[in-house]
Amino acid sequence: MKTRMTELFGIKYPIMLSGMNWLTTPKLAAAVCNAGGLGVLAGSHYDAEGIRKAIKEIRELTDKPFGINLTLGVGAQALVPVVIEEKVPALNYALGRPPEIAPLIEAVHGYGGKVIGTIALLRHALRSEQLGADMLIITGYEAASHSGNVGALVLVPQITEAVKVPCIGAGGYADGKGLAAALALGAEGIAMGSRLAATQEAEVADTVKETWVKSSEEDTVIDPAFDGINCRVLRNKAAEDLLKKKSLPLFDAISAGLHMKRTLNLSWPELLRTANNLRRQQIGIGAGQRGLASMMRFAVGSRLFSKATTDGDPVNGILMMGQTAGRIKDIPTVAEVIERTIAEAEEILESMKAKIGS
């Protein structure tokens, strides 16, 4: 099996586990690696010691390459030195500004690691390539969490024709149909989030896994109301409540801000810098509130995200969920997901030869 993605990382299949805060754990990431894909652990909600421990755990569970995902610009900068010290094989950044991204890429390349940039807009793709990223993840409108406004069917060819680095698709992928489609569109592989989290190995409450199985593709909503940036989540009670509130009550905002300062281990200047960074992180058009208000949304969002995942409450918590949820009907093992995705994609490519000829 050879695409530029499998060659870049020395892996068997062009399938990556999307780094998802609170959802990816060392066990899940390692399971993906051992099944032939690239397991990625989202690290932004850990502190420095926590992420070091998590990296050690992954290494105990697999000898294959893996990645760590960091959301820059919201406090994760403090974790960058640890990830570099630990020489993780792949570092996947999301958001962030060139002054943060450039030194990070240089440091990772310094020890022979690879850097993956997550992007949702053409201009960010071009910038990431220019800064030296080795691969890009193209986040379609379908995706859970943050994205722009363009669907994968258009965005993937648009970006793959404009950059030279290998790209993979994220958002909307749950099976071999999606993998075959992504390859046809010019991608070198896919990232799957919700699909690989709705598995036996995922260490998230059954209530959350059942939510993915039950939900249809029409059960999500994308809005800046949840964390200050356009973010796709399950349309549940908590989401409806936040959508109704045009501005956050002061008490909620302050208490959530303090909660975020504590969880992300931020100093006061860091907290303010985070607020300022968020002001500049405009993914989609019209996305995002401004300044402190945006940061407070992020803080309230963060607390509600962990309520859904860590506490297993997908009714009162906010659950990031992609339109892919409509494609998830069972809770198999990670290896089953990957094997059947590959088998289905192969079958489709065979039938395509009969249909189109070659």
Binding site: E142, G172, A181, G186, E346, K353, S358
Partner: protein, 325 residues
């Protein structure tokens, strides 16, 4: 040789359909060019104020091609009352083999169409509507996703998820509409389970389309993020090019403008004038997100043959990947 369930159903060479185009954009010249190139052209019946005029256009199309073509009847609310039955009857009398319905359930007309042995395709925006259409006896559904020009459903589901969801939901052939302008999207749509594709924006930027050359040139300048959805407030979601004019309409909607205030700004006459003059400053011009993938203005034949020949190259490239290794 090229075979999908759609080519068999409609008796066409390639599973590529030219979508209905409002504002007078799909006359006999464009429709016959698509059909003559092996695809399926579509006459847009509501471009004609009376069923007699539609009938004339069908006659003209028949004189220009002996291949199958379709007639679209859009059942959306209009500014003037429309006797749809007259339009259907005109198409049937002229022996049109394929009729596309859209906008609302075709149920009231299904008996008329089935008795006339017409093949019916219906535009849907969700898996549940696809199921309903199948139950009503529709022969194929075209699935309009979030990316599409014209009127996507307000559920905002993107093609990568919506196509397989509809393919799973029904047994009749599914046509992907929205997000496709070239061979990459074409092969991807087939991989997702579609039996064919429907393209509007791509055919608008063709030599044979009668829109003013300035409008086509303008399309070439636009990027994938230069469209947006308006008219949510009046339950008639439409994907349009982002301009000062459409931005103003969106702001009016957000401030709670009434239908009466908005209607004069979005009239079909303004759209027609823009297509004829190439001046888009005072009109709502629809375009799909694929406008960002369109870099040239070829002939219809070049578009269709280009997709088929490049699709073969893509399949060859994918074959070389040896997925299972």
């Amino acid at each position: 040789m090229f075979k999908t369930r759609l080519t068999e159903l409609f008796g066409i060479e390639y599973p590529i359909i030219q979508g209905a185009l409002g504002g007078g954009l799909s006359p006999a010249e464009l429709v016959s060019a698509v059909s003559n190139a092996g695809g399926l052209g579509t006459i847009t019946s509501l471009n004609y104020p009376t069923s007699q005029e539609l009938q004339e256009e069908i006659k003209k199309t028949k004189s220009m091609t002996d291949k199958p073509f379709a007639v679209n009847v859009t059942l959306l609310p209009t500014m003037r009352p429309v006797n749809y039955e007259e339009y259907f009857t005109a198409a049937i009398e002229e022996g049109v083999a394929i009729i596309e319905t859209s906008g609302r359930s075709p149920e009231p007309y299904m008996k008329l169409l089935k008795d006339a042995k017409v093949k019916v395709m219906h535009k849907v925006g969700s898996a549940r509507h696809a199921k309903t259409a199948e139950r009503l006896g529709v022969d194929a559904v075209s699935v309009v996703s979030f990316e599409a020009a014209g009127h996507p459903l307000p559920d905002d589901v993107a093609a990568s998820v919506l196509i397989p969801a509809c393919v799973d939901a029904v047994k009749i052939p599914v046509i992907a509409a929205g997000g496709i302008a070239d061979a990459r999207g074409f092969v991807a749509a087939l991989a997702l389970g579609a039996e064919g594709v429907l393209m509007g924006t791509r055919f608008t930027a063709s030599q044979e389309c009668i829109a003013h050359p300035k409008l086509k040139e303008w399309f070439l300048q636009l990027g994938e993020a230069d469209t947006m959805i308006v008219h949510r407030s009046i339950n008639n979601t439409e994907r349009v090019v982002r301009t000062d004019y459409t931005q103003k309409i969106l702001e009016m909607e957000e401030k709670g403008a009434t239908l009466e205030e908005i209607l004069p700004l979005i009239s079909g006459e303004k759209v027609r004038n823009a297509y004829n003059s190439g001046d888009v400053t005072n009109a709502v011009i629809t375009a799909g997100q694929v406008v960002g993938l369109i870099h040239d203005i070829p002939s219809v034949k070049e578009i269709i043959e280009g997709i088929i020949s490049e699709a073969k190259l893509i399949v060859q490239r994918l074959h070389n990947i040896e997925i299972g290794g």
